[in-house]
Symmetry: C2
Subunit: 256 residues, 2 copies
């Protein structure tokens, strides 16, 4: 169908987003990623069928398949046999647990926690947050405070910092009106998709304000979870610190 691998071929006809000498399926993957980022298909919607994509990019279905497999492995896309391949979304997480939530009850019976937004305020980015978010110190940010209640009891206190430029019009009222996970809110209301994150976990002693909110004693040991969340192109779009009571709860992690 195409003359291939006779030299590191000019990747397809159009200039590609991928390194020019990458395998074809990775070039296709990069093109699809660009389309996802450009919201050519929206979260929850199906992308075109493998056959259609194969003809669009003038490659075999098997190559498209490998590209989509790679996207699925990255959780950018979800395959559903007989139905199609769908853009991954955070907006369907009301039924199950949010994908990035690692806090569990010690005794089984996992129920999704309830999120209570305490406060939204504007601020200027401090040096450390600015660096993490790729902003300049003093750039405007939004700072959200929220509590996660498990079975009615407060377990996590989050302080979430967002670049104000990406979340224009975010107010407490608007969040309270939304039904679903916070990342579903970000995705559907502001078009910001959280794709992956890195967390650094430490143990700290509760200060007075935190102890008050979480109903613990001052000085009680808490988990401090510092998260940086990335969107397309590994651009950081959220910095968050969670303080977590681990009396009856824990942070779950799988190694393999």
């Amino acid at each position: 169908m195409r003359c291939r691998h006779s030299g590191p071929l000019p990747p397809l006809s159009a200039p590609s987003a991928a390194p020019s000498f990458a395998p074809l399926y990775l070039q296709i993957k990069a093109l699809l990623e660009k389309s996802l980022e450009a919201r050519e298909w929206r979260p929850g919607e199906p992308i075109p069928s493998e056959i259609e994509l194969a003809s669009r990019y003038q490659v075999s279905q098997g190559t498209v398949r490998k590209a989509i497999d790679a996207l699925a492995a990255d959780n950018l896309v979800v395959r559903r046999q007989g139905k199609g391949t769908f853009v991954a979304t955070h907006t369907e997480e009301r039924t199950s647990l949010p994908r990035f939530l690692r806090i569990r009850r010690n005794e089984g019976g996992d129920v999704a926690p309830v999120s209570r937004l305490l406060d939204v305020r504007r601020a200027k980015a401090a040096a450390d947050v600015a660096r993490l978010l790729g902003l300049k110190p003093g750039d405007p940010v939004l700072v959200l405070k929220r509590v996660l209640d498990y079975a009615g009891a407060p377990v996590v206190l989050d302080e979430i910092t967002l670049p104000a430029a990406l979340f224009r019009g975010l107010t407490k009222a608007r969040y309270d009106a939304y039904r679903g996970s916070m990342y579903g809110f970000f995705e559907s209301q502001f078009g910001v998709r959280m794709l992956k994150a890195q967390e650094r976990i430490r143990a700290v002693a509760a200060d007075a304000a935190t102890a008050e909110v979480l109903g613990t004693e001052v000085g009680a040991p808490l988990l401090a979870v510092d998260r940086v969340t990335l969107t397309y192109g590994d651009r950081p779009v959220e910095v968050r610190r969670g303080l977590c009571v681990t009396h009856g709860y824990h942070y779950l992690n799988d190694l393999y």
Copy 2:
């Protein structure tokens, strides 16, 4: 080459370890897993080439490839282009960081910590440990205490519980004579391969004994990391509790 998918075919000629109606490549994968478990090829050694396996199992090379891809995704095997596919091993971890070690320095420059074994003693499994290890309460276990020194300073205090039956002849002297990671030691000396693990993380206050070893104050917040480690067939073979100073260090986790 073979009549395939005309009914849920009798899986290959020999009875398979896999559910009989699984896709062929998963049946092949299960067979390969059985061979790995049976130590037909040893850690670090190459498994037979795709072509040879294809002829051995009477399937196409592409099917063997999918099976091996799945094994590689599970970290049971490592592919090396031009050389072959090798049984994954913990014994080459002296150069880099042990695969299951998530504790990092806050400031870059990751150096592998030094492991100091404090103590090995025999004991009878308590009820909770017995349950986690699939033993009966009172069954013999080994309990190891060890410290991880980062740059000369103690950071992690581990208490490691092992089924005595699987680690006959484990002594402090023998460990001290071994060069390499602890899992490399288990793998090469006792033939026990740690394949995956699940960790539950909590924040606790340092007790006197721990504070002494880690050089912190009594009551200082520590990370408590409870790990259950599994070998083939998801059989648990290690239970471990790590207590970790997070002053200058943290537990790193990637979400995606």
